[in-house]
């Protein structure tokens, strides 16, 4: 069940009415829990049961950690939990990848061993709820939060359907108090939720799915396309992945708001970043901050020698890449971003000692140049992210640089340029504060008209076959 499907609209409408009709807070929590289970079970009932079991174990382990006075026992329980969660993630997501890689390495060494892939289904959203469970455990271990006393509340924290399958990765310290708090229906809150939901719908259906029509055929067979079409496909993919993922997040935020919950913002106009470090503060913020808090900082963070910091950055980004998918192309994407972050540290240090160069780079044209360069670097990274093999990635990159002949884009490129223009204008309107100023002054009828037009636009521009969200596979 996808957020942009009619089935979801029916499911959510019914849930919304039932939820706000119930006068008892506890009943609402149980209703949300049941609805979240149903939502996940619509993909696979057994995997929904698996999450429930693993969540129950996490709940009792956390209570055990809190109750234990022996530091060794606490550490042991934390270790059991982390290994258990990562074990599940590795089994479902990475087992075949590791086995296949081992098999290929053995073959390269001249050793022939039989390889039979495991027949496992990847549970949707496993990477997200694994990280949520780990952050809860670590926070309980570090005594940053108290272990949750109520199992249904804890299960709702993990299973809450708006964030279950593709984030944002919520923190227990932010979300558990919201579950405990009694909710009151609020029209402004519903209005806000609808705004978010519509924005996500437009991003997903009118932009991301349309951009996929430019990108998909080219990435499926890059050797058949000419240089212009390759560039169009790469730019289209950059827009697709941003609008797909941030669109999903907006819809998640919107549905959560309509039910009286608040999820963390996950994107903040990342393509306006003037450097790669800023990009990671604006892109998939909940993952970047998780990696920072639970991996980069425990590794030593920015303290220590330059070499150590670079090492920490590389480890964090490589694992971040691997988190995205069980393929070496994702690992290379992570390494590429790690290298960019390291390079950025050196360039920043270099510029700090040269005030003239620094002031040129900080000026408006300099900032525009840095934004364009960052976007270009991010696009190069997306080639590894999107391509299924290194051969395909290489073909795309080489055709981007060397003028090549071949087929043109499947769609008229005017669609892409319109989209780029609209996205750029929206970014400008949001960044300059113009949008916020105008929205609060708009009369209700204009707002209603704008929402209705946005909804119509999203539905009319949706391509014939809707695509699942890209981040569902992670």
């Amino acid at each position: 069940m996808l957020f942009c499907e009619a089935k979801f609209v029916a499911f959510f409408t019914l849930l919304f009415i039932l939820y706000w009709s119930l006068p008892w807070h506890r009943a609402r929590v149980y209703l949300l829990l049941g609805a979240s289970f149903y939502f996940y079970a619509s993909w696979n009932t057994w995997l929904a049961l698996l999450i429930c079991v693993s969540t129950t174990i996490d709940f009792f382990l956390a209570k055990g950690i809190e109750a234990a006075s022996n530091p060794r026992l606490r550490k042991l329980l934390l270790l059991i939990n982390i290994l258990g969660n990562l074990g599940l993630l590795c089994y479902f997501k990475y087992a075949n990848f590791f086995l296949d890689s081992l098999h290929q390495a053995l073959q390269a060494a001249g050793i022939h061993a039989g390889f039979h892939p495991l027949e496992v289904i990847l549970p949707v959203g496993i990477s997200f709820y694994t990280f949520e469970a780990i952050n809860y455990m670590v926070d309980v271990y570090r005594c940053h939060i108290k272990a949750e006393r109520c199992l249904p509340h804890f299960m709702l924290f993990i299973l809450f359907f708006p964030h279950l399958v593709a984030g944002p990765i919520v923190r227990a310290r932010d979300f558990l108090p919201q579950i405990a708090r009694r909710k009151r229906f609020s029209w402004p809150r519903l209005h806000l939720g609808v705004q978010f939901f519509l924005m996500g719908l437009v991003k997903k259906m009118a932009i991301a799915d349309r951009m996929a029509q430019f990108a998909d055929p080219v990435f499926a067979d890059p050797s058949s396309y000419r240089t212009g079409a390759i560039w169009v496909a790469v730019i289209a993919y950059a827009l697709q992945i941003y609008c797909d993922f941030s669109g999903y997040t907006d819809m998640a935020l919107g549905t959560a708001h309509m039910l009286g919950y608040k999820l963390a913002l996950n994107f903040n106009m990342p393509y306006l970043s003037a450097n790669i470090s800023e990009f990671w503060r604006r892109w998939h913020i909940s993952l970047s901050s998780w990696l920072r808090d639970y991996l980069f900082i425990p590794l030593g963070g920015s303290r220590g020698s330059t070499w150590l910091v670079c090492r920490n950055l590389m480890i964090t980004m490589t694992l971040g890449g691997l988190w995205h998918g069980a393929n070496w192309t994702f690992v290379v994407w992570g390494i590429f971003h790690g290298l960019l972050l390291v390079l950025h540290r050196f360039v920043r240090a270099f510029c700090k000692t040269r005030p003239l160069l620094d002031s040129v780079l900080q000026s408006l044209p300099g900032t525009a140049f840095r934004c364009a360069l960052t976007f270009l670097c991010v696009c190069v990274g997306w080639v590894f992210f999107r391509a299924t093999t290194f051969g395909a990635a290489w073909e795309v990159l080489s055709r981007m640089v060397l003028a090549s002949d071949g087929l043109g884009s499947e769609l008229h490129s005017v669609g892409l340029w319109y989209t780029v223009l609209v996205v750029a204008l929206c970014h400008w309107a949001a960044a300059s504060g113009w949008w916020q100023r105008i929205v609060v002054r708009m009369p209700a009828i204009s707002l209603g008209c704008a929402y209705s037009m946005a909804l119509t636009l999203a539905l009319v521009l949706a391509p014939p076959t809707g695509k699942t969200f890209i981040y569902f596979q992670f």
Binding site: R189, H191, V440, A444
Partner: protein, 366 residues
């Protein structure tokens, strides 16, 4: 993030629970719902009443042209050619011979991929809204007589509207939910989005969809699809033939008249008989390689079936499959423009004129 209240600066003001904000939020959502529902109702009304082309663009193009022709035609009787893309690009009304006396207005009302059920839907639409034809030449395409999923195609393509519901109710596919169809058609901006985009900005459509819109712009005032294709290269011919093979060979290989197509054809002929509209059935030319895809038993089965229908409804059946040499085809079953004109002339002489003369003679008999 510790609060469950949204705190982003852009919305902080809105979420404050003052009466003005509450009322504004409620009104904005109410207007949104009302305007969206209103726009969908308006679209339904437009599609069903005034702009059928929004739902079925090819039908819309043809109906608009036909109405334009009729507006200046006075009381001239109307003769329609109904069929598939073979007729669309194969019969040019401009070169048909003219009947002495009151010359009828002849219009090529063929639609791409339209089998017997499509024809039945179109005939009913014409009878509902006008104009009423005085004679119909109806193409029989053997492959589509074997096709049992035509109702599903019609529904999936979104070409069937609320007013076709009655016609389609007897043909409704078992695996297609009526409730789902109703739900889809209540939101025309979803079910008709390609037609809407095509009307507004065809450049935003994918290549095959865009090409369809371009093709429709080539339909001349007689309804003939004038592609101005005088010849095709051997490679283009082979490619076209391969495409035709994928589309039709499997149906012709196991030739069996579909009960759905049979029922639709009989209903079409029954409606025409009821309305006193004479119908002439004809088969369009096919190249030798195309004909080779028929199963050995197909010839006898087809002949037997059409003879049966002809006897039952008193219609004439003309088999013109061998009338054009292999060099006259673009892909084994669609005619090149010069061949189409030659074929139309011969058809006019040997079929069209005698059939109309019979109709006129029949009408004169008290």
């Amino acid at each position: 993030m510790s609060s469950d209240r949204p705190s982003s600066p852009s919305h902080r003001g809105q979420v404050r629970g003052s009466r003005a904000y509450i009322s504004r939020a409620r009104l904005a959502l109410g207007y949104c719902l009302a305007l969206f529902a209103g726009s969908q109702l308006l679209l339904i009304a437009l599609t069903e009443r005034w702009m059928p082309g929004l739902r079925d663009p090819e039908y819309g193009v043809k109906q608009a042209q036909l109405n334009a022709r009729l507006s200046g035609a006075g009381e001239r009787p109307l003769v329609l050619f109904m069929g598939t893309s073979r007729t669309l690009s194969g019969i040019d009304p401009a070169v048909l011979p003219v009947l002495s006396g009151q010359a009828p207005l002849v219009y090529n009302f063929a639609h791409s991929g339209a089998g017997p059920l499509h024809q039945l839907v179109y005939l009913r639409r014409l009878l509902q809204t006008g104009p009423r034809p005085t004679h119909i030449f109806l193409e029989m395409i053997p492959a589509l007589l074997c096709h049992h999923r035509e109702a599903r195609d019609l529904l999936d393509q979104g070409h069937a509207g609320w007013r076709d519901w009655g016609t389609l109710s007897d043909y409704w596919p078992e695996d297609r939910s009526r409730a789902a169809w109703c739900a889809e058609n209540l939101v025309p901006c979803v079910s008709q989005r390609f037609s809407l985009l095509g009307q507004v900005k065809p450049r935003l459509l994918s290549k095959p969809q865009r090409n369809q819109w371009i093709v429709w712009s080539w339909i001349d005032r007689g309804g003939f699809l004038n592609e101005r294709r005088n010849a095709v290269s051997p490679a283009e011919y082979e490619q076209g033939l391969k495409h035709a093979h994928e589309e039709y060979a499997w149906l012709l290989n196991r030739f069996r008249i579909s009960p759905v197509a049979d029922r639709a054809l009989r209903e079409f002929l029954a409606v025409a008989r009821e309305q006193a509209i004479p119908v002439t059935l004809y088969l369009m030319p096919e190249a030798s390689r195309f004909r080779a895809w028929y199963a050995p038993h197909a010839e006898a089965a087809l002949r037997g079936y059409l003879d049966g229908v002809s006897r039952e409804f008193g219609t004439t059946v003309v088999d013109a499959r061998l009338w054009v040499d292999d060099g006259g085809f673009a892909d084994g079953h669609h005619l090149l423009t010069p061949a189409a004109r030659d074929f139309s002339r011969r058809f006019g002489r040997e079929v069209f004129l005698p059939a109309l003369e019979r109709t006129v003679a029949h009408r004169r008999v008290p």
